[in-house]
Symmetry: C2
Subunit: 339 residues, 2 copies
DNA sequence: TTGAGCAGTTAAAACGTTTTGACAACAAAA
DNA sequence: TTTTGTTGTCAAAACGTTTTAACTGCTCAA
C-alpha cells in the first residue's frame, strides 16, 4: 500500500462500493450485517481510520470543542490559576466521554481575544474560562451572540447576563464562610478581593458573606476591605496595606485561595499569628490549600461537576436544545487556619 | 447572506476568481498587491474565515498537535500532577506561537492508549507526557514508529531508546541535590522514589545523586531506600514504612516534589522535625513547593523551555528535518527544608 | 401477470479549500 | 514583424468523506 488507506481501498478489498463502506463503519441500519462484518474486517486489517478532515468537511461539524482560558496578569507568565487547571482536567474528561476532542488556548490580553474557532470550523462551540474583567468582556459576548457562536461561560450569573453560564453559587459560598466565622465567634472580619461589578464572582461571594453577617446583627466595616485580583502577590500586598493602615481584625475572608495564601504570608510577616490572632478563610479549595501552613479553611467548588455541566450545556446549545443557566452548590472545608 | 461566506462569495464581491482569493489570503507572491488589498477588504467585511476542514483536507495536514497526558493512578481522579500541568501551559503557548492548535487528551490506563490522532488526520504529530511505566510503553512506541507516526516524548533519554525525547538532565539534577546535602553536611541520606528501569527518570535522579555522594567518599545505604510513585500519598506511605522499620537518617532526597511533600507529612507525624532532624530535598519545583511548611528545597526543571523544545522538535520531525534528543539543565532551589 | 413494497446496494453530487496547467495581456528582445 | 518572457488571473482537478436519489432483485398482494 502506497499512502494511507482510504474508504475506496476498503471498498475494493471488501468487494462493495465506497458508500457502503462509509455506512457500514458508521453503523447505519441500511447495511447488511454480514457486509458490515466484512467491511470492519478489512478496515482493521489495513489499519484504516476515517479521515477527520474529510468527514468534518462533509458533515459540516468538527466534533471538537474549544476551551479559551483567560489568565490573570501575573508576575510569572507560565503560572496559571490552579483552580482553572483543575477545571481543565474535568472538562477534558467530559469532552472525551462525549466523543468530542478538546482544543485549548490561553488568552493573555483581555482586549482582543480570538474566538474564531467556530467561524473557521475548527470547533463546534467554545467554553470560556477565567477570572477576567467582566465589564471588558460584555461587548465581546454580544458580538459572539450576534454571530450566533455557540459558547458557555464559567462565572457569575449576573442578572440580564446575555450569555449562557455555569457557575458556583458564589453568594451561597460567601454565606457558608460567614456562617463558619460567626460560629467560631470571629466577628471582626476583613475582606480581601474585588467587590465591584468588574468581578461579579468575587462580588457575589462578598455579598453573601456580608448578608449573612447582617442577618446575625453584625455589620462589616467598609474600612476593613482591600482590593485584590486572584494572585498570591495581590493578596499579599492588599493585606499589607491593611496592616500598614493599622486596621485591626480577628478574621479574614479572601475571595480566593491564592489571595488567602498571600494574605497569610503578609500576616505572618507582620508577626500576626494564624489562626490564633486572625482566622483565615479562602475560596476554591485548590490543591495547595491543604499544604499551606496552617492548612487553609476554604469554600470548595466542585470542579468535576462544573466541567461536566459546562460541556453538557454547551452540547445542548449546539444541538439547539433549551438550556438554562446552572448553579452549583459550594461546600465548606474547615482546616487549621480557622480553628 | 444566507450561511457562512465562502471563498466564492469573496471572489464574487471582489470581482476576481476563487483561486485568486485563496492565493491572496495566503499571501502568495503570485497575486497583485492591489488585488490582494481588495480581497482582504471584502473578506473582512463579510467576516470570512478560511474553513479549516476544507483547507486541511486539501493540504493534507491539520496544523494541530495532540498532547497525550498520562496520569499517575491517584486517589483523587481529577488531580493531575502539577508539574505536568505547568508543562501543559508552556506547550500551549509554544504551539500558539507556531500557529498550531493543540488538542489535549488525558490517558488513564497505561495499557491501551489511543494514539490515532495522526492516522485520522486530526493532528500532525503527538507529544507524550507523563510519568508512566517505561517498560509498558516500549512496545507501544515501537508500533508508533512502525506506522511512521511523528511523536516526541518527555522523559529520560535512556540508551537505545527508539523514540525522540526531550528531558531534563535528571542525572545532573540528582548531583545538584547531593552536592547541596554534602555541603550542609547531611550525609546520612534516605531516598524515596522508584530506582528501577520502570521509571528511568527517577532512576537517573538517584544515579546522579548516588554517584556524587560516592565521589565524596560517602556510600548510600540500600536499606535507606523506599519505593514510591509520584504522588503525595505514595511518598507518605513509603516514608512511614522507613520510620516504622527504625531506619535512621538525617536527610532525605525525594524523586519528586509530591513525594517530598508526602514524606514531610510522614516525618512530622512521627515527631521528626524538618529541617532540624531531617533535611528534605525534592525535584520539580512545582508551585506548591514554596508554600509547604517548611518551604521545600528542590531541583527545578525549566518547564517553559521544556514545552518549547517539545514543540520545536516535533515540528522539525514533521518537516522531516534532522532532530536530536534534547537535554535541559536543572537548577537547585534552596528553601527552608534544608537549611 | 402486473404492481407495489422492501432490503440492500450503488453512482454521483456535494462540502470548501489548494494547486496544477493553461492562458491572456503586455513588454522587451530579435 | 515575430519571438520570448513576465505578470496576473482563471478554470478545473484534486482531497476523502457523507448523503441523496436511483436502481436492482426480491417477495407478496391483487
Amino acid at each position: 500500500m502506497k499512502g494511507k488507506a482510504t474508504s475506496f481501498d476498503i471498498a475494493h478489498y471488501a468487494g462493495v462500493s465506497q458508500s457502503t463502506v462509509s455506512r457500514a463503519l458508521r453503523n447505519s441500519p441500511l447495511v447488511n450485517e454480514e457486509t458490515r462484518r466484512r467491511v470492519y474486517e478489512v478496515a482493521k486489517q489495513l489499519n484504516y481510520k476515517v479521515d477527520k478532515n474529510a468527514s468534518n468537511l462533509r458533515a459540516q461539524q468538527s466534533s471538537t470543542l474549544a476551551l479559551l482560558l483567560f489568565e490573570d496578569p501575573t508576575a510569572d507568565e507560565s503560572q496559571i490559576n490552579p483552580f482553572f487547571l483543575a477545571m481543565l482536567g474535568s472538562i477534558t474528561r467530559a469532552c472525551a466521554s462525549e466523543g468530542y476532542d478538546l482544543l485549548i488556548s490561553f488568552q493573555s490580553t483581555s482586549a482582543d481575544w480570538q474566538a474564531d474557532y467556530e467561524d473557521s470550523h475548527r470547533a463546534d462551540g467554545i467554553i470560556l474560562l477565567g477570572y477576567g474583567d467582566y465589564v471588558d468582556y460584555q461587548a465581546k459576548f454580544r458580538s459572539l451572540l450576534e454571530q450566533n457562536t455557540k459558547f458557555v461561560c464559567w462565572g457569575a450569573s449576573v442578572d440580564n447576563r446575555p450569555d449562557l453560564t455555569v457557575s458556583c453559587d458564589n453568594y451561597g459560598g460567601g454565606k457558608l464562610a460567614a456562617d463558619h466565622l460567626l460560629k467560631v465567634n470571629r466577628k471582626d472580619c476583613a475582606f480581601i478581593g474585588d467587590a465591584s461589578e468588574h468581578s461579579p464572582e468575587f462580588f457575589a461571594r462578598y455579598q453573601g458573606f456580608k448578608d449573612e453577617f447582617t442577618r446575625h446583627g453584625v455589620t462589616l466595616s467598609e474600612r476593613k476591605m482591600a482590593n485584590a485580583i486572584s494572585t498570591e502577590e495581590s493578596g499579599y500586598h492588599a493585606t499589607r496595606s491593611l496592616i500598614a493602615n493599622n486596621i485591626v481584625f480577628n478574621s479574614l475572608f479572601a475571595a480566593s485561595d491564592l489571595i488567602a495564601i498571600g494574605a497569610i504570608r503578609a500576616l505572618k510577616e507582620a508577626g500576626i499569628k494564624v489562626p490564633e490572632d486572625v482566622h483565615v478563610v479562602g475560596f476554591d479549595n485548590i490543591a495547595v490549600a491543604s499544604f499551606t501552613n496552617p492548612p487553609l479553611t476554604t469554600v470548595q467548588q466542585d470542579t468535576t461537576l462544573a466541567g461536566q455541566m459546562l460541556v453538557f450545556n454547551l452540547l445542548k446549545l449546539i444541538r439547539g436544545e433549551k438550556v438554562e443557566n446552572t448553579l452549583l452548590p459550594p461546600k465548606l472545608i474547615v482546616r487549621g487556619s480557622s480553628i
